[in-house]
Symmetry: C2
Subunit: 276 residues, 2 copies
């Protein structure tokens, strides 16, 4: 389904369509699918089929289309949600209008009231970053599951702890490193989480060979609609600065990028920048 017109050669200017074919999925899960999807989730991976049924009946499914708001900061925090398809953006609105992008979640990842424990309201906006499908359950319902299945408690703890680690890494970045370094680190992290290999060499285009001998060919596309503004919100910088940094990286051949997309060409060099 990827619409593309002329994915021109590697070296030169950026071209039209990014590489992210937006996939939509407006569907309704069967009970069976729900069970399967939840079972694939870190929360419930230790449970057997019978137990999963019990879990599944407590979860509701909802679909959202790009840009749709799932919840807003300030709303009563009453649901724990798990992304099963698509991507969800978690952003903290600040008084002065400048958002901070706290996470870009993909399938299997969770958001919502688990993080707001002991808190009455959400602290962040959750917005559908692509069309997406989400399974969610009430906070009490989830707590019942925690009590019933100790493995769920352990998993939840581990997941929140992992989030905390990420947050602390971000704090480290923000407090001590300059923007290019933060951008490099962010790109690498995104490539790890959302990267797909060899973007420019696929599709239905006829294609000679692909790599026209320009050094590296292990290009990794970050499979998300990623604007400069998003990157700025992730790194605590401004759009203009991010744009300048990306232009610089591009000039050096470390990345390739265009409207709403970035791909990593020279992981090693980025790593060097990201780690000192």
């Amino acid at each position: 389904m990827a619409t593309r017109r002329r994915a021109s050669a590697a070296g030169g200017a950026r071209r039209h369509s990014p590489v992210a074919p937006v996939r939509v999925e407006p569907h309704r899960c069967t009970a069976l699918e729900k069970r399967r999807l939840l079972g694939a989730t870190p929360f419930f991976s230790a449970l057997g089929d019978g137990q999963l049924d019990e879990v599944a009946e407590r979860f509701d499914q909802r679909n959202f289309t790009v840009g749709e708001t799932i919840h807003r900061a300030g709303d009563p925090a009453e649901r724990l949600s798990i992304v099963v398809a698509g991507q969800v953006k978690i952003a903290r609105p600040t008084p002065d209008g400048q958002d901070v992008l706290l996470a870009l979640l993909g399938p299997q990842e969770h958001f919502g009231s688990l993080l707001e424990l002991g808190d009455a309201v959400y602290r962040d906006d959750a917005v559908a970053h692509t069309d997406c499908c989400v399974l969610s359950t009430g906070a009490e319902s989830f707590h019942a599951l925690v009590v019933r299945f100790p493995s769920v408690a352990n998993a939840a703890l581990a997941l929140v702890a992992a989030r905390l680690r990420e947050a602390q890494a971000t704090i480290e970045q923000l407090s001590t490193y300059p923007v290019p370094r933060r951008v490099a680190a962010t790109l690498l992290a995104l490539a790890d989480r959302l990267g797909t290999i060899r973007p420019c060499v696929d599709s239905d285009d006829h294609r000679g060979v692909g790599n026209s001998g320009d050094g590296h060919d292990d290009e990794i596309l970050i499979d998300a609609t990623l604007s400069r503004q998003d990157l700025a919100d992730m790194t605590g910088a401004t759009v203009e600065t991010v744009s300048r940094v990306l232009s610089d990286f591009r000039r050096r051949g470390w990345i390739d990028s265009g409207r709403q997309w970035v791909s990593v060409r020279d992981r090693a060099s980025l790593k060097k920048v990201a780690h000192g």
Copy 2:
């Protein structure tokens, strides 16, 4: 025990001894004390005496003196610790030597392997910020408790979630606000967590009245040895900048400060700076 020479009047220059009487406590808890201390902790507050005994026998007690290292980043992460007296500083060392102070923990607060779940090593240094007493247990031992007592699981989840919230607030601060605002917010947070009322008006000094009519008299001392460097590490700024900001706040009469201590005089004004 507070040594002090001449705590001079309120208005003018800063004077000698801060106000923090350093208390030492090199002792050994009895089993009974251990039980009581653990029961006072958010982890185990829901448990009965019999259950607390079970918990207590899994915890060991250790004392540390100021500056002593409890664990270092890179050490195998094998213990969960709870501060019962004194303060512990959690700092993340960065490659280029500049530390990031992630937390300053007081009694009842925890650190260690709970946050490193699924991680083999500590990410941070833990250092005794004052003389202190710590109860700790092995990671497996703690997990056994989690499975045995669901309330412990819930408490642990809530505690880690609370840490995550703090971390996200810090990220918000770092990404979008200027230094004076961050410093103001940090001071307020410290005053809330570690503040003691009326510092200059206590001790065994004879004292006329105390407040010599200089506007506000709700002064709150931050009860910790707090260097400019510590503050800088908490706010992601440099010592010099923090010093300038504090001098400014002092000139305005919002705070009072000296070598290794700060007290808050005008909460309202600080709040105004901290929140826009």
